[in-house]
Symmetry: C4
Subunit: 251 residues, 4 copies
């Protein structure tokens, strides 16, 4: 039913939107997001736009809450609804990185300590987190905007600085704030956002035991290819778990 | 329907009372209070009084359990019901700090270690805990009352000493005991009581990784203003979660 | 209806038996016991006997599973039912310590590390754990029985050695094994078994921050008196929580 | 009804299959497996074969998902269904170790750090983990296959190398990956897979307190004999808990 092989059908797009709603619930249910943080996808019809919920707790997002944004953060169809202050994280990364199709911004609890300790870079501890490659850089907002900011990415300029720190990595930490995770698909970005938290916990535990044998760059690359080819398996588990939690909470 | 703009209506006061009951349940449900600890508000009609539950587990408090106290801890309407031994924490802070409208006293698990290690001051690790400013002081009861107390704030004198240690900070730690958190509104004090626990956990984890980059005083102040302007978002999430937990437990 | 004031009525004894069943469920539900560990009381009618469940998971104990034992560990009414291998812990402590009316033996997770690190004595960190006094001794089974035991208290001789290590303390750690906690009442022993776990977690966290200010001996004693006078409050909360968990699991 | 005393009856085999399904659910429910990892048994009729689920999340496995494999990893009755990439772990260990009747491969969270820190060998901390004997060796895949693998055991050669590292131990850690646990029965392998996680957490906590008194080799051996003779008690508890969780999730 597609007119071009590379064009998503209406069915594909509906499924993607449903996945984006599930992604919000999964990330909340797995403890990566709480009342704060957000997940977006690049618009399937227009690479110059992205889809992101209106300003609300991720655990409560429904299909009707997903808005379309220009890359500069301008909402297209908000119709007066409040938008996230930090939507510029998403827009500027989509602008700088054409390969990125999905973005998560979180304050996940094991990752924040690594954002504030520059002497302890986050590195891949195990095969599940090969996407960390040779490590995640830290974005220091003081270098871009001085010593008195509220640490938030509240405009395009700060978004562009963050994208600059990200470079061609998959993950960038944000000092005293959290992390932003990117991927070529929505399911992979959810996987990475969950496993960057897992890896941070494992690495913190390992560092207390002694010197750590991290994955080599080649191991990280090989492991990423294998494990992310299996991303459907944990996605189904997380989705089922998130839906159960929602059913339990509304029954 | 108000006669003066600054006077709360009966509706406002009913809503505030309902919020105080929810605050008890939220703080219990989020692990800040257990069978012990308490939360109060300054009386909306009389700044020389405050509202606090009778002596009971916070998770079980209902509207009928809220009592009115004089600032010296004398219950006004207890009608023979038992009151909290440490109500003097609340009264003396309301007396010393006219700007404080709500107080939480807790033994939250990540905070107690910081109360007992004077060489490791609690400081803001991330934008969510800007309210910690340049750090939280520790109240050492031995300085006020010698080496043989039961560590509790059991009279006005100890309450006044605690208020003195608090000074113009938002949080004061109590050695070998816990913390007391203050704020200009009830929702903010709940937010701060939850995030002082979060911050303590993040800081303990970070300190094990290496030297920590804390928020500057200006960052803390800017971040506090931004995040606490959004306090309604987590409040709604916590309230929903606490109500679900109560429904589950009584069905 | 009692013939002597100091003699418990039949009603008292039924209530105590019901409390012993609840104590099993509470200690399981709060994570102090799992499939292993046990809680006993001295027999209300005969100080030379004690009451303890038959060999089974504490979370499943009912009134019919409670057996009577002689102090030497001989079951009186087992009627062929299997008994706990380590019942000698209870009997020998009741023999050595006439003031002890209730005993818990557990492998609670934050306590075991302190049992295996002799250079880090467990000490009271906060007012809730005053019962730790000047610290808990460690029972080293190698001193009593050499280097090839299975670490278990499998006869009266080992039980007596353990009671000897306990001395007049309230808690004794057992190297590579766990802890045994004693108290003058059942509700207090449950309280102490839960708070020895809490204290171990707080102390381990505090030791990583820097030198710890422990409670003085006088503070511990004062705090114990105050907090254990309030033991009914957490007991009711724990009992309610354990009963809910059981209802959920059988509905 | 058996023709030879040593031959399992059809009833025995059905019970064993049901246990294998329960083992999948238990290991998932206790946090040892998540969407990944697997548990197998040697075929009760043919020591040259083993039984393992098809490629799927362990928490969802049913009797119909259990497949038969040759020791070289060839599926006998897959009928086109996908199989686990790392089935060679199981086959090669069954080949090298005739005494092994059950195998678990996991990425359990407290164990992974020990796999990546070669200076901190995993050793038995308490009587519950006597099966660790004098410690668990670490399999370094770089020694077998160089610095660019994806860390997975994807063929018989790597499986044989892993079995070689295991030697006559019960547990082998896999650097940057996880652990493989073996036992003479299915219930014991589940017990060991759960307690290797518990032991790793206890040991990490203890190492932060100071020098640790581990079990002597003789203590480990004695303790293993006693505790593993009681394996039915925790098995029943874990099974009940896993079945409740499944009921809750499908109601």
């Amino acid at each position: 039913m597609t007119t071009h092989d590379s064009t998503p059908t209406e069915q594909d797009k509906e499924a993607l939107l449903e996945d984006l709603v599930d992604a919000n619930h999964i990330l909340f249910n797995e403890g990566v997001l709480d009342a704060f943080g957000h997940v977006s996808i690049r618009h399937p019809d227009d690479p110059e736009r992205f889809l992101l919920a209106r300003n609300m707790a991720p655990g409560l997002v429904t299909g009707g809450d997903i808005l379309t944004f220009e890359l500069d953060g301008t909402p297209v169809d908000a119709d007066g609804r409040k938008v996230y202050l930090e939507r510029f994280i998403h827009g500027e990364i989509y602008r700088a990185r054409p390969d990125v199709m999905a973005v998560v911004h979180s304050h996940s609890p094991s990752v924040v300590p690594f954002s504030a300790v520059k002497s302890a870079p986050l590195r891949p501890m195990c095969h599940m987190s090969g996407f960390l490659g040779e490590g995640a850089p830290i974005f220091e907002i003081r270098e871009a905007a001085g010593h008195a900011t509220d640490l938030l990415i509240r405009d395009c300029g700060l978004g562009a600085s963050l994208a600059d720190s990200l470079g061609d990595h998959n993950v960038v930490l944000m000092r005293g704030h959290g992390a932003t995770v990117t991927a070529p698909t929505l399911k992979q970005v959810v996987y990475r956002a969950i496993y960057v938290e897992v890896n941070a916990r494992l690495q913190a535990d390992a560092l207390r035991l002694g010197p750590v044998d991290y994955l080599t760059a080649d191991e990280a690359s090989s492991a990423m290819e294998t494990t992310e080819g299996q991303v459907e398996r944990p996605w189904q588990l997380w989705k089922q778990r998130a839906r159960q939690a929602r059913t339990a909470s509304t029954s």
